[in-house]
């Protein structure tokens, strides 16, 4: 019996992408504002991974506690946003659906800001409090958008509903910021633009479970996602309970988005651009498309972050600016091209 072709495609593509990811991450940690020798950087990494002599403690701290968490976190966030984008586009059968455009990110941002400023729920959930609040508000945003766009889920209505919801949550966020102190304000402002600077290992632990849970469950449901891409009636005729499955998938995508926003603010367009490019390259089969998009999202965001902190050295751009510079022209081009899934 011949082996399944999608599995072969998946193995080849993901193997290649993992290689590229490690390469980009390697470049990214070797490169930064502190003037370190390349050999020292890698000696630190090796020392932590396999043991052996490290270099001086200052270098060690810069590499292991500042650069590495930042690079890993960028990869995780890129992966989560691209994965969420695949799910939104597949379930809603809409090539322009993405957590940012749907306003889900802005809901998550409000929730996260609320948790950050008030510290609500920290006693109960500890470091998971921010992602959980982000998820709660992102889910509210999601259901508002879907409620507004109810009729037929046409692309235009969906985008307009996203604009409305985004405007509302954006205003609420501004309101929240304007009543806080000036010092807090600057911190939050930078975070809203999307940033992965000053992140530590604990941030990774705070969001990793959400990414993993979301990613694994979505991949296990990827065959069902294929049925959705062929139409909701089609899925229903094959025994899928359409409403329940759709809600589950959208909530999982929202969870991944919320966790990403909770640590990095709203980084737009990753969930739009990456799934699109991957669909063009490897086809619409979500069993391959989802994992491959997740990996490419990771590569993309690590690269974007490296750019963000090196282009205007020693100043640092918010990473959201870099992704928007790539994403906006792409979005405009897609809008003009007419709108068809999988093209």
């Amino acid at each position: 019996m011949k082996r399944e072709s999608w599995l072969i495609r998946l193995n080849i593509c993901s193997g290649l992408l993992i290689l590229i990811l490690f390469l980009v991450m390697g470049v990214s940690i070797s490169w930064g504002s502190a003037d370190l020798r390349l050999a020292d950087v890698w000696r630190v990494v090796l020392a932590h991974l396999v043991g052996g002599a490290s270099v001086d403690s200052a270098t060690d701290a810069i590499v292991w506690n500042i650069r590495l968490p930042r690079v890993i976190l960028s990869a995780l966030i890129g992966a989560a946003l691209a994965g969420a984008g695949v799910v939104f586009q597949g379930v809603l059968r809409n090539p322009l659906a993405d957590p940012y455009i749907l306003g889900v990110s802005s809901g998550a941002a409000l929730g996260a800001a609320l948790a950050l400023l008030t510290g609500l729920g920290t006693t109960l959930w500890g470091e998971w409090s921010v992602p959980l609040w982000a998820f709660l508000f992102a889910a509210i945003a999601l259901f508002l958008v879907l409620g507004l766009a109810r009729r037929g889920m046409r692309t235009e209505t969906l985008i307009l509903s996203g604009v409305v919801v985004q405007a509302f949550f954006g205003a609420m966020l501004m309101l929240l910021i304007s009543v806080t102190s000036a010092e807090e304000m600057q911190r939050i402002q930078f975070w809203i633009m999307g940033s992965v600077s000053l992140r530590e290992w604990q941030h990774i632990y705070a969001v990793l479970p959400f990414f993993l849970a979301g990613g694994v469950v979505v991949w296990l449901m990827s065959r069902t996602l294929n049925l959705f891409a062929l139409g909701e009636r089609y899925a229903g005729h094959l025994g899928v309970s359409v409403n329940r499955t759709r809600t589950w998938l959208l909530l999982l995508a929202t969870l991944m988005t919320a966790a990403a926003v909770a640590v990095s603010g709203t980084i737009g367009f990753v969930g739009l651009v990456i799934p699109h490019m991957m669909r063009r390259m490897i086809g619409p089969d979500h069993r391959v498309l989802f994992p491959v998009s997740v990996l490419s999202g990771a590569v993309f965001l690590v690269a974007a972050d490296t750019l963000a902190r090196t282009v205007l050295e020693p100043r640092e751009l918010p990473i959201g600016v870099v992704t928007a510079l790539v994403g906006v022209p792409f979005f405009a081009w897609q809008l003009r091209r007419g709108i068809r899934l999988g093209q």
Binding site: M1, K2, E4, W6, L7, W219, L220, M221, S222, R223, T224, N226, L227, A229, L230, G231, R233, Y234, G236, H237, L238, G239, V240, S241, G283, P284, D285, R287, R340, L341, G342, Q343
Partner: protein, 274 residues
């Protein structure tokens, strides 16, 4: 097997279907005919449990259709809706393999059995050479054949089709219906097919169900159902009805109004042929 008892459905106070009652037995092909807006598509939705009837019941393999779980229902019933396959760039083989979904577990890969069935059906339908073609690049006829192949790998007992031959050229109309007939003969499949073309319905179906404005007007063999009076009554046109020279089944010929055929003359000629 499919049983329908006293089916009634209305939308916004307007009755769409009323008092439908029929059975499609295993190995039988039943055609549903009637003018546009007579409720045929609503009937398909009721029979596939997409909407619930206001009154009456639908039984699938002896059990109320709403009592089967989605997966259990999909193991017994395949549906080919009117709109056909969307233009998504999946390959022929990928689309056909989706028909195995109700047979598979929650993991994404498919089993040995699934691949075997997909392979066999592609051979039967002549799609083996097109397995890697994208469905958005196929013609309407080929795409419909792919949709049928997907229903075949589902291995149901009952097949429901909503106008499977509309928009197809005559070669593909015959190809699709031949394939359905062959499958029916091999697997004792119960088929319910909505058709617009009365002549194809007459050739391929064991029995016909004629609906007008949601009410069952006639039910029986093509010879019993397709009479000039009845077609005039339901469609409002005056047809010529002749016997097919090979199969002896009734065939409906249309005639431009300017020739002014009256119903009497039609009945007369039909009587002579009989």
């Amino acid at each position: 097997m499919l049983e329908v008892e006293n089916l009634k459905k209305s939308y916004h106070g307007q009755t769409i279907l009323q008092g439908l009652e029929f059975t499609v037995a295993a190995g039988e092909m039943m055609g549903v005919i009637g003018p546009n807006g007579s409720g045929k598509t609503t009937l398909v939705r009721l029979l596939s449990n997409e909407t619930e009837p206001d009154e009456g019941e639908v039984y699938l393999d002896g059990r109320l259709i709403s009592q089967w779980s989605g997966r259990q229902r999909a193991l017994r019933l395949a549906v080919l809706p009117q709109e056909g396959l969307p233009a998504v760039p999946f390959t022929v083989e990928e689309v056909i393999a989706t028909g195995r979904h109700p047979h598979q577990g929650w993991w994404p890969w498919s089993g040995r059995m699934d691949q075997k069935v997909v392979e066999r059906v592609m051979k039967q339908t002549g799609l083996l050479s097109k397995r890697d073609r994208r469905i958005d690049r196929l013609s309407g006829g080929e795409r419909q054949l792919v949709a049928l192949a997907k229903a075949m790998v589902q291995e149901p007992n009952v097949l429901i089709l909503d106008e499977p031959t509309t928009y197809l050229d005559i070669a593909h109309q015959v190809a699709v219906l031949d394939q359905i007939q062959q499958w029916r003969n091999q697997e004792e499949l119960a088929v319910l097919v909505v058709l617009h073309d009365l002549n194809l319905a007459s050739q391929y179906c064991d029995r016909l169900l004629l609906i007008k404005e949601g009410v069952q007007v006639a039910e029986g063999t093509p010879t019993e159902v397709l009479t000039a009076e009845r077609i005039h009554d339901v469609y409002g046109i005056i047809p010529q009805i002749i016997r097919h020279p090979v199969t002896q089944l009734p065939q409906v010929l249309l005639c431009p109004s300017e020739h002014g055929t009256s119903l009497e003359s039609v009945s007369l000629s039909y009587g002579i042929l009989r």
